[in-house]
């Protein structure tokens, strides 16, 4: 994990979205060093579980710098969040409001609204979020119950390659906020624009200035000054900051292909290939010729544990390194303990 790259990404986001407070989505790469570096740089945190809150507490990062973003929580998780000092909660349905009722005098809410996105690789709007038409009703219910609502949140999805989804959601939310404020006679104070900002896995280059410009513009145009805008970047901050290093454990020739078996695979750091639908740029520290069609497989006994099929590689030997770039987001986070393998060790440089 490269401290410098992590801070560069934070700086890039701050440059591109000035005035927007980043809440790092801990789930993307739940690592204490990352949290420390980001906390020292002034970032806040998006927590979604008791375990994530515990990590912050161990590091003495105040719960006041968090929002709890999981729309569905057990009572024990609400209590643990409050004890961890996390007092702003996200809800997306009336059931959940009633679970928060016993704590209404201590908390603030963000209502998560769902806007379906066509350009995101991972659609997050199906599982969570209320329909825009339900917003007024749910806020009315919260008001009846005496639970203060601070604002709205949305997630356009992950790795959203075009800014249109953010732009349209912000525009829509601005309208809703104004409608709610008129209706209730009380100001809201937060719009949470989620995450989903893309990173460059394909190596084709992303023009961030053009990407963020329409988002900046719509924020400036549509939102009144009293609304604080926050975001929940996860992938955007950590993807580039982590490089995974695996080594060749053995090799075999099967079915006309050269197979290389590595000490890390899709049950480990490369789990994002399954869960996150990601393909990471790979690098071999050996540019010798000739190359032949090869397969890179992981260390577990499962046949699904294949990192790359049919790629042209020079001849590798036991101990040779295979480098995976852009491997910070949803990699180590979703790695399993399958085969009782110990998993990658994280080193900060």
């Amino acid at each position: 994990m490269y401290r410098e790259k992590l801070l560069q990404q934070l700086e890039l986001l701050r440059e591109q979205l000035p005035g927007v407070t980043p809440y790092y989505a801990i789930k993307a790469f739940p690592n204490e060093d990352v949290l420390k570096i980001l906390a020292d740089a002034g970032a806040c945190f998006d927590v979604a579980s008791t375990g994530e809150i515990d990590m912050l507490q161990r590091l003495n990062i105040s719960g006041r710098r968090t929002i709890h973003t999981h729309p569905i929580k057990k009572d024990s998780e609400i209590k643990a969040a409050l004890r961890g000092g996390s007092t702003t909660f996200v809800v997306d349905n009336a059931e959940e409001l009633h679970k928060l009722l016993p704590y209404r005098q201590r908390i603030g809410l963000l209502l998560r609204v769902s806007f379906r996105s066509k350009s995101a690789r991972v659609d997050l709007s199906r599982k969570f979020g209320c329909a825009p038409e339900q917003v007024v009703e749910i806020i009315g219910e919260a008001s009846t119950l005496g639970i203060p609502v601070r604002g709205l949140s949305f997630h356009v999805g992950s790795q959203s390659m075009a800014p249109d989804a953010h732009v349209s959601a912000i525009d829509h939310c601005a309208g809703l906020i104004s409608e709610i404020e008129q209706h209730s006679g009380r100001p809201m104070n937060v719009l949470d624009i989620g995450g989903g900002f893309p990173v460059d896995y394909a190596g084709t280059g992303i023009d961030y200035a053009s990407y963020f410009e329409p988002i900046r513009d719509i924020l400036a145009e549509s939102l009144p000054d009293h609304i604080e805008v926050i975001a929940e970047p996860g992938r955007f901050l950590v993807a580039r900051a982590v490089t995974a290093i695996a080594s060749v454990a053995g090799k075999a020739r099967r079915g006309g292909y050269q197979w290389y078996y590595l000490d890390d695979g899709v049950y480990g750091s490369y789990s994002g290939q399954l869960f996150d639908h990601a393909v990471y740029p790979l690098q071999i520290l050996n540019d010798s010729m000739p190359r032949e069609s090869s397969i890179l497989a992981g260390p577990t006994c499962d046949s699904i544990d294949v990192i790359a099929e049919d790629i042209a590689l020079p001849e590798l030997n036991e101990g040779d390194l295979v480098i995976g770039h852009m491997m910070g987001a949803y990699t180590y986070a979703t790695a399993t303990r399958f085969n009782s393998l110990s998993g990658a060790q994280i080193v900060v440089i």
């Binding site: 507490q57 006041r64 409050l82 961890g84 007092t87 704590y103 005098q105 201590r106 203060p148």
Partner: protein
């Protein structure tokens, strides 16, 4: 400059300067910190919420101990639930008539920590031969004990966290069972202005088991937000209605010295603002 901001409420909170951290510990169950603040002295914080400070702890401990003890007038056996810092034990044992004060603390480490880092709270009370220190879960203790008490003081943490069970109807029922005739249960019940639901909930649960349920109050500056309420449960209304002259006699006879408590304050503390009376009656604001 290091600051600590309380995390009790989403929309506001009090902030303290940390002059020096004396102790900090994150266990599986709780996050504890004791630090020095130039105005407040040593401040103990649990899970982001101020528990006690050297400067204003006397108000809380005097009002929770002396109000039930002097209203009762003949208390010999006292039970303290929680109170690991020793401040409550100190106030209870000031009364020469007390034969035994049993203190039930769930975590032995809290007592050791308090002896070392908050010695002004206990002021040697743990070494008093009348102190009976039991390390146990408060709920288990009241459920199982064969002892009987004249006064029970529940010096618990907030209802969110390990102290939750000490606000349950079950706990109140067992307290009633182990109280002698005319015995009193007093519990801390939060800052009513910002935690009014707790008044409603406690009143409802307590009145299931005590014919005389009431609240009294005191303002403790670092329990931010105005007056804190203490819940009162007893099966003899005469205990609460003791007149001020009787309290004065008892106060003088007890030989205790106080900095907040007076018999007049005692009587007056049962007078409540209307919004609390309404919450008590189950009317929501």
């Amino acid at each position: 400059m290091k600051l600590f901001t309380e995390t009790l409420y989403d929309a506001f909170g009090q902030t303290f300067r940390i002059d020096k951290v004396y102790f900090e510990n994150k266990t599986e169950h709780q996050h504890l910190m004791i630090f020095h603040n130039t105005v407040l002295g040593r401040v103990m914080v649990l899970d982001g919420v101020v528990q006690t400070t050297e400067k204003d702890e006397f108000i809380y401990h005097e009002m929770m101990a002396h109000v039930p003890l002097l209203a009762h007038g003949k208390a010999r056996q006292v039970l303290i639930i929680g109170g690991g810092d020793g401040g409550m034990l100190r106030e209870v044992l000031k009364h020469n008539a007390i034969e035994q004060a049993t203190m039930v603390e769930i975590d032995a480490a809290v007592i050791e920590m308090a002896k070392q880092y908050l010695p002004n709270h206990s002021q040697g009370a743990f070494d008093d031969p009348r102190a009976n220190i039991v390390i146990a879960d408060g709920m288990d203790f009241v459920r199982e004990t064969a002892l009987r008490f004249d006064v029970i003081i529940s010096d618990s943490t907030d209802p969110i966290g390990p102290g939750e069970i000490l606000f349950s109807e079950d706990f109140y029922a067992h307290c009633r069972r182990i109280l002698n005739q005319g015995g009193v249960l007093a519990t801390q019940n939060g800052v009513a202005f910002f935690q009014l639901d707790e008044v409603t909930t406690t009143a409802k649960r307590l009145s299931q088991h005590f014919s005389d349920t009431a609240f009294y109050s005191a303002a403790i500056p670092t329990y931010f937000g105005g007056i804190m309420t203490f819940a009162w449960g007893c099966n003899d209304q005469a205990v609460r209605n003791v007149d001020v002259q009787t309290l004065q006699h008892r106060y003088t006879a007890s030989g205790i010295h106080t900095r907040y408590y007076t018999p007049e304050i005692h009587k007056a503390s049962f007078a409540l603002p209307k919004y609390i009376i309404d919450a008590f009656d189950g009317k929501t604001a």
